[in-house]
């Protein structure tokens, strides 16, 4: 059961920790991990097509979605990120034949586990974006950004010794 996201005028309340509020113009940081062959190429296409999307995402390039270890997600959420987007090739299109199928299993379990221990499920999102889907990439980023803006800042288990 998910807690309703509270709409408060003038400020954003953290979905996980209602005691934490941020000003309405608060901007989240989203860590985007993209596979080189489909999604990273797709995001490049978004750029060459000059399709505009929210500037909150910070992109990391990996060869394949199967390179994504679940603790990249955990680590991101524990440091600066308020949300994570991982994107790979569509099923059947993996440059490395079967990588995204293995990744898909890990992603589902990780997402459900993090939700179980108290993260809103929208903080961890996944997409399949092909090298031709520039417009889709922009849409995906816009949606993820919007989702996470509603969830407010994330303070859970952030490293105490980090800035």
């Amino acid at each position: 059961m998910e807690t309703e996201v509270k709409e408060t005028k003038g400020q954003v309340v953290s979905a996980e920790n209602p005691g934490i509020v941020a000003p309405a113009d608060w901007q989240p940081v989203i860590m985007g991990i993209l596979c080189n062959w489909c999604s990273y190429a797709g995001s490049d296409l978004t750029g060459t097509s000059r399709i505009q999307y929210p500037p909150n995402i910070r992109i990391i390039r990996v060869p394949c979605s199967s390179r994504v270890d679940p603790w990249f997600i955990i680590k991101s959420l524990q440091t600066s990120a308020d949300g994570v987007l991982i994107s790979g090739c569509h099923p059947g299109d993996c440059h490395y034949i079967s990588g995204n199928y293995y990744a898909r299993r890990r992603f589902l379990v990780t997402k459900k586990l993090l939700n179980f221990v108290g993260y809103h499920e929208n903080r961890i999102q996944f997409s399949w974006v092909s090298a031709a889907e520039g417009p889709k990439f922009a849409k995906v980023v816009a949606k993820v950004t919007e989702d996470i803006k509603k969830l407010g800042p994330l303070h859970k288990y952030k490293k105490e010794n980090l800035k």
Partner: protein, 283 residues
Amino acid sequence: MDYTKQIQEIASKLFAEEKIDIFIGYRQNAFDDNQVPILVTVPADVPNLIFTDKSVLNLTNYLKFEHTRNKRVGIVVKGCDSRALNMLLTESQVKRENLYVIGINCTGVLNEKGEKAQNCLECVMPDAVVYDEMIGTPSGKKEYSVNVDVKELAAKGLVERGEYFQEIFENCIRCNACRHSCPLCYCTKCCIDQESAVLYNGSNTPSSAFHALMTWSLHLAGRCVDCRNCEKACPSHLPLHLLHKQNEMVIYENFQQHLAGMEKDDRGAFYKYSMKDPDDFIM
């Protein structure tokens, strides 16, 4: 459930026939209120062996230490333990030919309060799946049911659930007893102990506990057999099974009802895939 006599007989026979160097079983502890593992190396110690419904621990954990490596070992396994053994065999950690496995068709063990343990109530496979010799009557595979605690927690709100786990992570003292007691945590060097500056800062804080326990439970996802050695070893009495049972539930419901260690050569849910795996959570 009292198989003390049978086990002592088998152990004596194995020593007499020189089939084993070590026998791993249970013995009564000094205060006669609990059972502890015993590594019998001489036939004279065989009468110390015991097996009742207080034989709780998963002994396959002792196969990962140097004492037993490349020795011929006799070992007692219950249903859940045998699944762990299956995992160890599949992942090439023990050699089948070195083992003499006494499989118990278990009727469930007791918890500290003398009641039937929760994992036994929810057990899917009480019979040993790997054995050379079988004791007890097989009762067959049981229906899978979602863990009651997981179900209860999942019904709660996100914030409440988050606060519940916050307390767990705050109470973790990072002693690593859970890891040490887990038969499937046999890595030469645990990832948590490597390159600590980057991966894990090692300090005793909720965030480091969170990171360590999350990583640990994801490394056991699709492999954990629910023996609960970890929980028994935890000095803070943390309900560690919640994490494992949550993962097990997700895996069972989404990946062709996968359960760890049920079959030989099944490497666990993360090392295979199906075209039919759920895709609707991905945009």
